[in-house]
């Protein structure tokens, strides 16, 4: 589920799949940027709460999500934060948001120095094509963030 695995797993058939999907249904979604951002204000409000006046810095956080999700019901998500995870310097929490979902909150993961490494994986629902945002709160109070776009196909033929 790490980034490397993800990229090596993208074999020729999947590239074809992406091309195919892109040339078909996804076009209609990407042509409606306003729709994909409909709930972005809700996500922004939640993110502001986490930031508490601070500014999020880029880097240190890796978000592993598929570029194209086969089905929005079950989208794999892994977050990893670069940190020594010692008593003095560790990741306290990672908060995940989806800016196009009716409720933007997805999950918060709480780590401790006993975590060894700040990596967590779960599966989430994405209502449509949108951005997934991760904010990492460090033990020194700094915040790092990253985001990734996930295209959601209207998948699953047959009832």
């Amino acid at each position: 589920m790490n980034t490397t695995k993800h990229s090596t797993k993208l074999n020729r058939r999947e590239i074809l799949f992406s091309l195919g999907a892109g040339s078909m249904a996804l076009v209609t979604l990407t042509m409606l940027p306003g729709l994909a951002r409909a709930d972005k204000t809700a996500a922004d409000a939640e993110i502001k709460k986490i930031l508490g006046g601070k500014t999020a810095q880029d880097g240190r956080v890796t978000l592993d999500v598929p570029q194209i999700a086969e089905n929005g019901n079950t989208v794999q998500l892994e977050v990893a934060v670069d940190s020594p995870m010692t008593e003095k310097d560790y990741v306290k929490a990672v908060h995940v948001f989806a800016d196009g979902n009716p409720v933007p909150n997805v999950a918060s993961f709480h780590f401790t120095p006993a975590s060894g490494k700040a990596v967590a994986a779960t599966r989430m629902r994405l209502a449509k094509t949108q951005n997934v945002i991760a904010l990492a709160e460090m033990s020194d109070g700094s915040i790092y963030s990253t985001q990734a776009a996930v295209k959601v196909t209207i998948g699953g033929c047959g009832g």
Binding site: M1, H6, K9, L10, N11, R12, R13, E14, L16, F17, L19, G20, A21, S23, M24, A25, L26, P66, I68, A69, E70, N71, N73, T74, Q76, T153, I154, G155, G156, C157, G158, G159
Partner: protein, 267 residues
């Protein structure tokens, strides 16, 4: 839908051409491809295959676990569990997942695994039959079929099964519904092509009961049949109907030699 396929053919003409060489790389899919026969696994996204590959990531294993409990659970007037007669399922059910549906002499018809389980319940355990597509029947069927995981599909289609196989084949090739499509329209004529955002597979049955992302749970092959039938706007048949059991027999033969994957994970 026809327009969809047509559009798919136009939009993906390029992909179809490019897909040619990829199809011949048979070793790429290991046991999931036998000759030209490809499991639905080979059409699934990498993330979906990852979910199936790890028994602690595959959510359908929760059904296997709870099915294992049911296997040991005494029920009915006879005071028996499955295990009372069949002992360790790993041994007694090792082939069960490969050979159903089987010809059942007392009824003079084919019987699938779900029906066999319910036959045992009503006749041997003197218990109530489990409801079709209810969680108990899904759990127990998934558990039993999982005992054959990795073994090649090996259904009998000769002898008394032959006329039922012929009926199943006829069903598969008969156009139906307002969209006037047969099973074969998608899964033979257009396997590997896109139907809107979906990549059409060969429609192999070796992974059922299957965890579908769409369902967010485990469902039976007959639920899938009903979904397909509704999709072409045809009246679906009942769970466990003779039509579907015969179709299941034909599909089991189409998937011959592919490994039992139950429980698979699919879109």
């Amino acid at each position: 839908m026809r327009r969809g396929i047509l559009a798919a053919a136009l939009g993906l003409g390029l992909s179809a051409v490019l897909a040619g060489p990829a199809m011949t790389e048979q070793s790429q899919w290991g046991p999931y491809q036998v000759g030209d026969v490809r499991s639905g696994y080979t059409y699934a996204a990498g993330e979906t295959r990852d979910m199936q590959d790890d028994d602690f990531v595959n959510p359908a294993m929760l059904w296997v676990d709870s099915g294992a409990e049911l296997w040991e659970t005494v029920d009915g007037a006879a005071g028996k569990s499955c295990a009372s007669c069949h002992g360790d399922a790993a041994e007694s059910m090792a082939e069960a997942g490969t050979k159903f549906p089987v010809y059942f002499e007392p009824s003079g018809k084919m019987m699938n695994l779900e029906q066999r389980i319910n036959f045992c319940r009503t006749e041997n355990m003197k218990a109530d039959a489990f409801k079709w597509e209810g969680q108990e029947l899904l759990r127990l069927t998934t558990f039993v079929r999982n005992q054959s995981r990795g073994k090649p599909m090996n259904v009998k289609i000769d002898g008394p099964a032959a006329p039922f196989y012929a009926k199943g084949k006829e069903f598969y090739e008969t156009r139906r519904g307002q969209l006037d499509m047969a099973c074969s329209s998608c899964h033979v004529d257009n396997a590997g092509n896109m139907l809107r955002a979906n990549l059409l597979s060969q429609g192999m049955s070796n992974g059922f009961p299957t965890y579908r992302l769409k369902w967010q749970g485990v469902g039976s092959l007959h639920r899938r049949f009903r979904g397909c039938n509704k999709q072409v706007r045809a009246q679906p048949y009942d769970y466990g109907s003779e039509e579907y059991v015969n179709l299941e027999l034909y599909l089991a033969d189409r998937a011959r030699s592919l490994p039992v994957e139950a429980p698979a994970v699919r879109n």
